[in-house]
């Protein structure tokens, strides 16, 4: 993240289809999709509700594939993309965008890195020029690298090292739940490795991954598609393709027994717990049922785990988590775990909390879910999906990842269908298959002895 706190889109999106309402207002996002000869995928979607446009550039590289010994490098590199290019001086990317009435940011995720601008739609071409300039000619200097190593180190301190719990439900859970380094390492980065990065690392990463044939350019908003195509040709048409990046091994052996870890926490006042269950791949027929199962167990305050832990047993203060720690069902490609995080009250134990979570699961496996619970979960799912489509950025995000990972952004108009078709029996079966102790990792954070004082 360039600015503000890493977007912890913790409440995994959960989308669904209420049967009655689906027919009323089908999703209908106009999509123009094509590829330039240099391999750049282009998505254009007109939306004239407000005089704004979002430009998104999504690169097919996330922190899973950063080099060993360089944890946090993909994210550090994202910062370098704001440090200037042939015709744009250091940090002037932000200047141009803001002086034209917009805002800009970037985000590094498991399997992609994105850059985006939202601005008045008559300033579209300027944003395209900025993105093309840095895709073509990133300017990398020793001084700017050192500067951003300092900035990113402070980002890690503010969001991780100086915080109670230190994002353990991501960083520590992933370290323990996965065995393949690509999946398990700390994507925010260890400070010494962030600071060990060299200018050669930056150049080589840029050359390997930041090529038009490894990216998607998406434009959503109050624009004319035909005019946009001409602008894209002008600014991106002459970029040259690079050899396809090496394909990283993301395979993960099946977990066969439960992992339990206890960690002391110097800064926290209350104990906390996180669990992670490996979930089926997006291509698995079990996937849509798993997504609804997540919704039913922990999607909102009516969910089964929330009701049991927070309300009925009064063991915990909160319950957060979801199917994809950072995003949604569609914006990742590698193996994933469903995460759950809860802060529990002093005087209780991790075993008490787990026992209740397991009891809820066992009940669901034994008796299944009601038809109303399923129908309501689908309504919730659909409503959350619409919220994603509300902003030009939200739409651009979905279109981009569908183009990036599936080569088919038109799927945006039929994304809900598999979730709509899920049956109660499938949800029950998914619980029985995936929510077993041998498939999970549990981490507890124990406040180090200090005054457990309230006053």
């Amino acid at each position: 993240m360039q600015r503000l706190v890493m977007k912890l889109l913790v409440l995994a999106l959960t989308m669904t289809l209420g049967l009655s309402s689906l027919q009323a207002k089908p999703v209908n996002v106009p999509v123009v999709y094509y590829k330039l000869p240099n391999g750049l995928k282009v998505v254009i979607s007109e939306d004239h509700i407000a005089p704004v446009v979002t430009v998104g550039v999504y690169y097919n590289v996330g922190f899973r594939v950063e080099p060993k010994g360089r944890t946090g490098f993909a994210h550090l590199f994202e910062h370098m993309m704001f440090q200037g290019s042939a015709n744009v001086k250091k940090f002037e990317h932000a200047k141009y965008v803001e002086a034209n009435g917009g805002s800009t940011n970037g985000h590094t995720d498991f399997d992609y890195t994105n850059y985006y601008e939202t601005l008045p739609s008559n300033r579209l071409e300027m944003a395209l020029w900025l993105e093309a300039d840095r895709m073509r000619s990133l300017d990398i200097s020793e001084e700017n690298l050192k500067n951003q190593q300092n900035v990113v180190s402070e980002e890690v301190r503010v969001n991780v090292l100086n915080q109670p719990y230190q994002l353990f439900e991501w960083i520590e859970l992933w370290k323990n739940a996965f065995t393949n380094w690509n999946n398990s390492h700390n994507g925010y980065g260890e400070l010494d490795e962030i600071n060990a990065a060299t200018i050669e690392d930056v150049r080589s990463f840029f050359k390997t991954y930041y090529a038009p044939n490894n990216a998607v350019l998406t434009i959503v908003g109050d624009v004319d598609s035909a005019e946009v195509k001409k602008m894209i040709e002008k600014h991106f048409g002459t970029l040259t393709a690079q050899p396809a990046p090496p394909k990283a091994d993301l395979t993960e052996p099946a977990q066969t027994k439960e992992k339990r870890v206890s960690q002391p926490d110097k800064l926290a006042n209350l104990p906390a717990l996180a669990t992670g269950y490996h979930i089926p791949a997006q291509s698995s027929p079990d996937f849509p049922a798993m997504a609804l199962l997540v919704q039913i167990l922990q999607g909102d305050d009516s969910s089964r785990w929330y009701q049991r832990l927070v309300k009925e047993k009064e063991l915990t203060l909160d319950l957060t988590g979801g199917l994809n720690y950072f995003g949604n069902e569609f914006d990742y490609t590698g193996p994933m775990i469903m995460t759950t995080r809860t802060t529990y009250k002093p005087g209780h134990t991790v075993d008490e909390v787990l026992k209740e979570m397991d009891a809820v699961t066992a009940e669901l496996v034994a008796k299944g879910i009601t038809d109303k619970e399923l129908a309501d979960a689908k309504v919730r799912y659909k409503s959350n999906f619409y919220s994603q489509l509300e902003s030009s950025f939200g739409k651009a995000h979905l279109l981009s990842v569908l183009a990036l990972f599936r080569d088919d952004p038109n799927q945006i108009n039929s994304l809900l269908t598999p979730f709509e078709n899920v049956t109660a029996a499938q949800v029950k079966a998914a619980a029985a298959k995936y929510l077993v102790a041998s498939n999970r990792t549990v981490i507890e954070r124990v406040p180090e002895a200090k005054s457990q004082s309230g006053q």
């Binding site: 600015r3 309402s21 050192k146 980002e155 002008k234 305050d301 902003s391 006053q455």
Partner: protein, 470 residues
């Protein structure tokens, strides 16, 4: 935008262009702004209803605001009662249990949450638009018929106490709490969270009588934005809220603010910190004040935009921090301006120096035309983006009603921003970026940073619980 107009426009050609264009393309013709319109109606019981169609997705978003239920309301007898009430009204009504409320929300694809601040309690609710009448019915039920079940009250008391304890481990919570107390003192705006005793002694009757007295339609406004048909929506609202009984609007309370005669450091000691959390600021003005647009724009140039002076200095040039910022918080009765950053221990002193230097620079020298024009574009452009989302528009309309602004605020925004001069900005900075009377709040490890802090002023030391320590 002289810089941009000077751009050389390359012809659109199918011939290969070898080099990337060297200068930014100029803007295209301006697009119609399509500023949203809203209509206002008053129900017989005094409830003001504001409707604004925005059919970007088949959803509806609503904000119901109670302007007599503020964090300061009844704070002498029951500190924190507005916050606890806001957290509890959707945990049970005369006809619905907490769980039934959550289940109803799930079945309409809805959300409903409340929060209180120094000026208001707001209920923010959304749903699929096909279920709008059920959403209004639920909002009305929790507004009028909250039952505060004993079990829910007890749980909320216990959890709120624990959550505040958990929050006291967080430097962001601590720096904000100490800052509000430093600048607003005993004024209701200085109230952040109640103490544990106040929370645990609240009774069901206290809460019942609080909402009966202060959640009243004649001191409330309901804003509905989204995929709506105004006539039908208004009929649904009348059906849901028509029987809500009006009450007596309490007298407004606005005691004097503390007068700060010098710069003062408030240090919250948090041993083990690897960063210092820094806020520097003071009281400013209410939203309705004539200087609002000038201070807002000074804030943009100083530290609230990404390409701001503060970010360029202590992030992009010096690498002290990830997240420098400034913030102009103007509310109904007064406001505050503050600058801040979270920085590694070793650069605590240098960061204080630069934040103060950049504040003084705003006071002493006029901003450049380039900076001013960029700030104007930034404000007006991002205003359009804000108004394009249902909750963005609803929130903006809410400020018009809660802060008693001109009803034409949305239409006036652009011309007011565009009329600002560099002299206006400097004048506002001179008044409100006053480094000589600023509160400097730091949360960090005193032993590690004390030598860097003491040169900047007298220090009062606090622990994480808010107690003064010697």
């Amino acid at each position: 935008m002289k810089l941009l107009l000077a751009a050389i426009l390359l012809s659109i050609s199918t011939l290969p262009i070898v080099a990337q264009q060297k200068t930014p393309p100029p803007p295209g013709p301006a697009r119609p702004l399509n500023l949203p319109k809203f209509t206002e109606k008053k129900l017989a019981n005094g409830l003001t209803v504001i409707l604004a169609p925005l059919p970007n997705v088949p959803k509806v978003s609503a904000i119901l605001t109670f302007t007599s239920a503020t964090n300061g309301t009844d704070r002498t007898n029951h500190p924190g009662i507005a916050q606890i009430a806001a957290g509890l009204v959707n945990e049970g009504t005369d006809t619905r249990t907490s769980k039934q409320i959550k289940e109803e929300l799930r079945s309409i694809g809805g959300t409903l949450g409340l929060g209180s601040d120094p000026d208001q309690t707001t209920m923010t609710a959304t749903a699929l638009s096909e279920f709008s009448s059920r959403l209004f019915e639920l909002m009305s039920d929790v507004t009028q018929h909250a039952s505060f079940p004993e079990t829910e009250l007890k749980l909320a008391q216990e959890n709120t106490i624990q959550q505040i304890r958990a929050g006291r481990a967080n430097p962001g919570f601590l720096v904000n709490e100490r800052f509000q107390k430093a600048v607003f003192g005993d004024h209701p705006y200085g109230f952040v969270v109640p103490d544990e005793k106040s929370i645990s002694t609240l009774t069901r009757d206290d809460l019942k009588s609080f909402v009966t007295k202060y959640y009243i339609p004649n001191a409330a406004h309901l804003i509905v934005v989204g995929d709506i048909e105004p006539d039908k929506t208004l009929a649904e609202i009348e059906k849901a809220f028509g029987s809500w009984k009006s009450g007596t609007v309490p007298a407004d309370e606005n005691p004097p603010l503390p007068v700060r005669d010098k710069r003062q450091i408030y240090f919250v000691n948090r041993p083990g910190s690897v960063q210092s959390a820094i806020y520097i600021g003071n009281v400013s003005i209410p939203r309705s004040h004539a200087d609002y647009f000038a201070i807002r724009t000074a804030d943009t140039i100083y530290g609230s935009s990404f390409y701001s002076r503060l970010t360029r200095n202590i992030r992009e040039s010096k690498g002290y921090t990830y997240s420098p910022f400034s913030s102009s918080n103007t509310q109904a009765k007064t406001g505050s301006f503050l600058a801040g950053a979270f920085v590694r221990n070793e650069v605590t002193g240098p960061t204080l120096l630069e934040i103060l230097y950049e504040l003084d620079r705003m006071r002493v020298l006029p901003v450049s035309d380039e900076e001013l024009n960029a700030a104007k574009e930034y404000s007006t452009g991002n205003f359009s983006v804000e108004l394009a989302s249902q909750l963005g528009l609803a929130g903006r309309i809410n400020t018009i009603y809660t802060y008693h602004l001109n009803k034409s605020f949305i239409d006036d925004f652009r011309p007011k921003i565009e009329a600002l001069t560099a002299a206006d900005i400097q004048k506002a900075a001179a008044k409100y970026f006053d480094t000589y009377h600023a509160a400097i709040v730091i949360v960090g490890d005193w032993e590690k940073v004390k030598d860097q802090v003491t040169p900047f002023g007298d220090v009062t030391m606090y622990d994480a619980q808010g107690n003064v320590v010697k």
